[in-house]
């Protein structure tokens, strides 16, 4: 019989709600909570362990929590890993996606989870794993578990999952060709689609174009001489030892660096760790990417009021839209906290 390990949060393990969010990882050999329902819905497989972790603990100690959780799985025999369902719980969704990704990388087993479409974990992890479309809240526990279990049964039998539409998971950014001799020929499909479009009826394109998530331009600053300006970059400028270990490509990390007593970013003290361009120009004068020197001059001339105490940096090359969105949101919180009026955002 095939074996499954199931990850759930402190709430569904019956430990408690928000007050217990810092609950540290635990491995249970006696399965509990949603694991019981999952176990029941499996065909030739069983849930052998329930892995529990508080959402708050995971969120604020992602790396340590991941190491602890992976350590608990070490030496266990399992064929598949399930997390959730996580519904709309944002931190639970993040933890489920993150641990699934780590388990898949370390143990090479298939990983499955379930989230509601408003869970931010969907956009962060949908390209890395099967995330099934789930309900808003735990009232949908039974049906969400059923969807996960039916996919698990298929995978464990060695069957391939069908399309995102037929299996009800979020598209993973993989588009493949399907031949179907029962399908209407393209000439009929195209005329039918045109007639619908012309009559204002609903139609379904076979090649959905991703929507540009445009942000309106902020109103102009009327008086720059009273403005506090911050420098933010995706050009990978960091202190020479890259203290936050920002990745050179596909970044998931960002850093903020104190420049309150700097007038200039000097060669040998700062550099770029961006792998997407020839670093020579940036390394010999990091101001080329984070123009602190000229901005200080503006400050002295009174053209601007002041410069934020820190500059903010990450790497743009290969970075997913989901990660960029998360990092941008996190940086924005700090900028607001620092009462920054405007940002010069430099890319490369």
């Amino acid at each position: 019989m095939k074996k499954i390990v199931h990850y759930i949060n402190q709430f569904f393990a019956g430990v408690g709600g928000e007050e217990q969010a810092d609950y540290k990882p635990e491995l249970h050999t006696e399965i509990l909570g949603p694991s019981l329902a999952l176990n029941k819905a499996l065909e030739d497989a069983e849930v052998t362990h329930t892995l529990v972790c508080g959402d708050g603990y995971f969120g604020s100690n992602e790396e340590a929590a991941t190491q602890e959780l992976l350590g608990m799985l070490e030496g266990l025999e399992f064929d598949l890993f399930v997390a959730g369902p996580t519904f709309r719980a944002g931190r639970y969704g993040f933890a489920a996606g993150s641990i699934c990704k780590s388990v898949k990388e370390k143990f090479g087993v298939p990983v499955l989870t379930s989230m509601n479409d408003e869970n931010p974990g969907v956009n962060m992890y949908k390209k890395d794993m099967y995330i099934f479309k789930g309900g808003k809240s735990a009232t949908k526990m039974r049906s969400d578990i059923k969807v996960i279990a039916s996919a698990a049964n298929k995978i464990l039998k060695g069957e391939k999952l069908g399309s995102a539409e037929s299996e009800n998971f979020y598209p993973r950014g993989i588009r493949l060709q399907v031949i179907d001799k029962n399908m209407k020929p393209a000439s009929t499909r195209v005329v039918e689609m045109l007639l619908k479009k012309l009559s204002g009826k609903e139609f379904e394109t076979e090649l959905p174009i991703p929507k540009n998530d445009r942000v309106d331009i902020a109103p102009a600053i009327k008086d720059l001489s009273k403005a506090k300006i911050a420098l933010v970059t995706t050009g990978g400028i960091v202190p020479i030892d890259n203290p936050d270990k920002i990745q050179s490509a596909s970044a998931t990390r960002w850093g903020m660096y104190d420049i309150s007593s700097n007038d200039d970013l000097l060669e040998g003290i700062y550099k770029t760790i961006h792998a997407g361009f020839d670093p020579y120009g940036a390394d010999t004068d990091p101001d080329r990417i984070v123009p602190l020197d000229v901005l200080r001059a503006y400050e002295k001339e009174g053209k601007i009021d002041s410069i934020d105490s820190h500059f903010y940096s990450t790497v743009g090359t290969g970075t997913t839209e989901g990660e960029a969105y998360r990092m941008g949101s996190e940086i924005a919180v700090v900028l607001k906290d620092h009462n920054v009026d405007a940002v010069i955002l430099t890319s490369t």
Partner: protein
């Protein structure tokens, strides 16, 4: 314009003493047929091989497919190409149906050539697996391009046209099994269509080679030196456009594809019922941005001028031509013409690449006909028509001589691994396609 196509349904093709058609059997006098082919002294050797659906035959490198037809009262089928110019799209044309004439290299392939399996899983990828194919298998003395990846394949393509004209002579004087009527009067002279949607079909024909001789021809004119023109749909299905020899094969539209364009037939079927089929704007595909934009501008202007409120937009290609496709899509939508596109995609072997090189939110309605880069593995076939090694050796768009992980396209036992790119006219954007793309 009123066109009658008289169909002769071919059930069997065999060789015999005289070329004739009787009771569904086309008999070919091979010697006489080959004399017509050999009129071009550049053809050094030639043979005719018949391949029937279900045969354990693999045909490669296929350069062109043509439906054998003759024009009643005229002495050529392809005006401007095989004879003097005359107006197509009216009068009577006789056609040998259920059958195509293929131009097949005896040895040498080129980038735009393709493969056809007559049975097995490979037969799912080409419309031509389901037809009786009269294969002209020949070699030429076109030394200047013998080892070039891009070949004009002039002698072979023109040889196949002559062969198709020769075969169709057998039915010139006969009564067809059935007659299809294509009757569409002038745009302003139509009754009973006033309340219907006015629809135009836009075809972007392949014309991206700046050097002449590789591109689609309209009445013999190279479409690289062309601006979009309004044509009567009858002209297209009456052999006005000849396929070229350039684009990766699954994206290509053969001359047979133009002659039998299913989208034109579908629009004809709906004409007077759900829509008013105004006509076909034949556009092209270009290299420079200015050329792309100029063609898009012409298409949108013609569509507006004739009062179209809807358009179907089809591209004969992928990759760079996606820019022409999206430019034209945007131009039509900006002109207030509601548009549905039809194209294939290139999402890579893993399905993770952006489907078109250029995207636009205005392109909100697209019918998708498959992934050019899908990897296909096929077992050996009992007989090869042409030369199997051409798939690996000659730079066909979906084949390769060697690959670190996959090895060569052609294995020692005759099995093959290739990309869909080289399936002969495989993506059927003209309208046959029963392929689509799904998210996984």
């Amino acid at each position: 314009m009123k066109l009658e196509i008289g169909n002769f349904i071919v059930k069997e093709v065999s060789f015999g003493n005289s070329t004739s058609f009787q009771n569904g059997v086309l008999t070919i006098n091979k010697k006489e047929a080959l004399e017509h082919v050999m009129e071009d002294s550049h053809i050094t050797e030639a043979d005719i091989v018949i391949a029937v659906p279900g045969d354990k035959k693999r045909i490669v490198p296929v350069k062109e497919a043509i439906e054998a037809r003759c024009k009643i009262g005229k002495n050529c089928t392809f005006p401007g190409v095989t004879g003097d110019l005359y107006q197509l799209g009216e009068g009577r044309t006789h056609a040998l149906k259920n059958m195509s004439v293929l131009a097949v290299g005896k040895h040498w392939g080129s980038f735009g050539d393709g493969l056809i399996d007559m049975s097995g899983p490979g037969a799912d990828y080409s419309h031509y697996s389901g037809l009786i194919n009269v294969c002209l298998v020949a070699d030429t003395d076109e030394e200047f391009e013998r080892h070039e990846q891009q070949k004009k394949n002039h002698a072979l393509r023109w040889g196949a046209m002559r062969l198709s004209e020769y075969l169709a002579e057998a039915v010139r004087e006969l009564e067809p099994d059935e007659i299809e009527d294509y009757d569409l009067c002038s745009i302003t002279g139509r009754d009973n269509v006033k309340d219907l949607h006015k629809v135009v079909y836009v075809i972007q024909c392949q014309s991206q080679m700046e050097e002449l001789g590789y591109n689609d021809l309209v009445y013999g004119w190279d479409m690289n030196k062309y601006v979009p023109t309004l044509m009567h749909p009858n002209e297209i299905i009456d052999s006005a456009i000849i396929s070229g020899s350039f684009m990766p094969c699954s994206s290509k539209w053969s001359t047979y594809d133009f002659q039998n364009n299913p989208t034109i037939k579908e629009l004809y079927k709906e004409h007077g019922k759900t829509l008013n089929f105004l006509g076909v704007i034949t556009s092209n595909l270009n290299v420079s941005l200015e050329q792309k934009n100029r063609s898009a501008l012409f298409v949108a202007q013609i569509a507006s001028t004739i009062g179209a409120d809807g358009a179907i937009l089809a591209e004969e290609g992928y990759g760079n031509p996606d820019a022409d496709f999206i430019a034209c899509f945007d131009a039509l939508e900006d002109a207030g013409v509601k548009t549905v596109g039809i194209t294939n995609e290139c999402t890579g072997r893993d399905g993770k690449s952006q489907p078109l090189v250029v995207l636009s939110e205005k392109a909100d309605a697209i019918v998708s006909c498959g992934n050019v880069s899908k990897l296909i593995e096929l077992a050996p076939m009992e007989e090869v028509v042409g030369e199997l090694q051409s798939l690996a050796r000659d730079g066909l768009s979906g084949g390769w001589a060697d690959d670190e992980k996959l090895g060569p396209s052609v294995k020692e036992d005759g099995s093959i691994i290739m990309e869909n790119n080289s399936m002969f006219c495989g993506d059927q954007v003209v309208g046959w396609s029963q392929k689509t793309m799904k998210e996984f």
